[in-house]
């Protein structure tokens, strides 16, 4: 069986400007942050991003890499809740927003996973969601009437992805991978909706150890769903990756504070985002000791 182990920069080497990229996790929870940091180090830009957004989307916006975003929400999950860089991108009109109900994002990934052009969903009707989509979002009439009247529903288009980036707790070199916390989020759907699928994990172990460590139901990804495996301990930082670690609330606050002026942001970039992932993790350890 194929050995799919890669480095962070090798993964990013397979991405291209202009791609539609799905980012797993949820808000500030188990985000593929090491892969996002690797994109920041690259010259890849002009991305369309699909995400239950958190600081992943924020960091990509901070570097002007997002042209269009499909999202159900963007949240840091703790005070001050609103991501500063996403807010900046929105208030400056820097990206085209395809905002939608959270359930529509799941629905669109499921349509892509099943190679369907759309799936009907009730969520979105009557709201401003269709107006966000500027003609991209249509309705569909049921061929099965209810008491003589057909229902007209949102026809959620498939959210087909060029690439999916997800972070899980444990995996093997072939792409079998598991989560160990309370929630799988939607990482399997992101992989099923994508052409190229990359999973970063806290630890790469032998297959036998993986399946002995977690219950069967936690084995979220199989080999058919993964093209590349990266060992990235701390790779979801500063989001949480239960059961390995919680959110680094102090550092997340530091990220938000640093976004307030060009000078403090440049310092944040110089300290955390210009070197390698190892240098980032070392700088984060120093921050924790000093804080």
């Amino acid at each position: 069986m194929r050995d799919k182990r890669m480095s962070l920069d090798e993964v990013v080497g397979e991405l291209r400007s202009g791609m539609t990229i799905g980012l797993g996790g949820w808000g500030s929870r188990r985000k593929p942050m090491a892969l996002v940091r690797a994109i920041l180090r690259s010259d890849i830009t002009d991305l369309t991003v699909v995400s239950y957004g958190g600081p992943d989307l924020g960091l990509l916006c901070s570097a002007g890499k997002v042209r269009k975003a499909y999202y159900g929400f963007v949240s840091l999950d703790s005070a001050p809740f609103y991501d500063p860089w996403f807010a900046e991108a929105r208030t400056s009109g820097a990206l085209a927003a395809r905002e939608m109900d959270e359930g529509m994002l799941k629905c669109g990934l499921e349509a892509a996973a099943a190679r369907l052009p759309f799936l009907p969903i009730r969520a979105g009707l009557g709201s401003d969601v269709p107006n966000f989509w500027e003609g991209e979002l249509k309705t569909v009439e049921s061929p099965y009437p209810v008491d003589g009247t057909p229902e007209t529903l949102i026809a959620m288009p498939a959210l087909n992805l060029d690439a999916a980036l997800v972070h899980l707790n444990l995996g093997d070199q072939h792409g079998n991978a598991a989560y160990t916390g309370v929630d799988p989020y939607f990482d399997d759907l992101f992989c099923l909706a994508a052409q190229r699928r990359y999973v970063a994990v806290e630890r790469v172990v032998e297959t036998e150890e993986l399946v002995k460590t977690v219950p069967l139901q936690a084995l979220l990804l199989n080999r058919m769903m993964v093209d590349g495996v990266v060992e990235a301990p701390g790779g979801a930082h500063f989001t949480l990756a239960a059961d390995d670690y919680g959110r680094d609330e102090k550092f997340q606050k530091h990220y938000v504070e640093s976004a307030k002026t060009p000078e403090t942001w440049q310092l944040f970039i110089d300290t955390y985002l210009t070197g390698s992932e190892e240098q980032y993790q070392a700088a984060v350890r120093r921050f924790a000791e000093e804080a």
Partner: protein, 252 residues
Amino acid sequence: MTSIETVTRAEICAVACAEIFSGAGEIMASPMSPMSIIGARLAKLTTEPDLLLSDGEALLFAETPPLGGKAPIEGWIPFRRVFDVVASGRRHVVMGANQIDRFGNQNLSAFGSLQQPTRQMFGVRGAPGNTINHATSYWVARHTKRVFTDRVDIVSGVGYDKVDATNPAYRFHHLHRVVTNLGVFDFGGPGHTMRARSLHPGVTADEVAANTSFEIAGLAEAGRTRQPTAEELRLIREVLDPKKIRETEVPS
């Protein structure tokens, strides 16, 4: 000994939030802020024992913990299963709101225009799906003209004037209550407009009118929000919120 004489506005609000769930039965209660969480848990401990309550993350509580506390669990409700529950209709959510208009349109997304807002909040989150699928109520800790506005900037939660009566896909839409620091409201006014059900003790109709951009139906006739029972006060003060977090949301 709990003293009825010293009942605070926050305690009145907690009981009004509990009454949102009166008669709800065996459904998932999804309160989104401390006051509505106290309310849902109070309902479960008094008249609505069959409610399902989660920890707000992925676990269903078997017992009813205090605010911020842990409890034994009875099940698993990760986010993707929440969306299944939403679509099933077996849920009553109590959301917050940056804006609400007289027909119940709600905004928690952003202020300004869709593609270039003046202030970014969360985006629409689950508000469109919640409001089109199952009972939805709102909790507003500070009742002001800014919140209760003539027109919301972005419709996240669907109001009654957006309902297409010719399309049965809208048949599950139901906005149940709006509870604020000033009173209890619904959308039983003319043409499904906002109506006062009761004002909290000490609140006048003029005060509500002065803090609302549009006319509220039934404001002059609205009665008093009821006082908590001694048992409800005990549960709020000693069991659910001994740290008085409710008082930070609605100061006395």
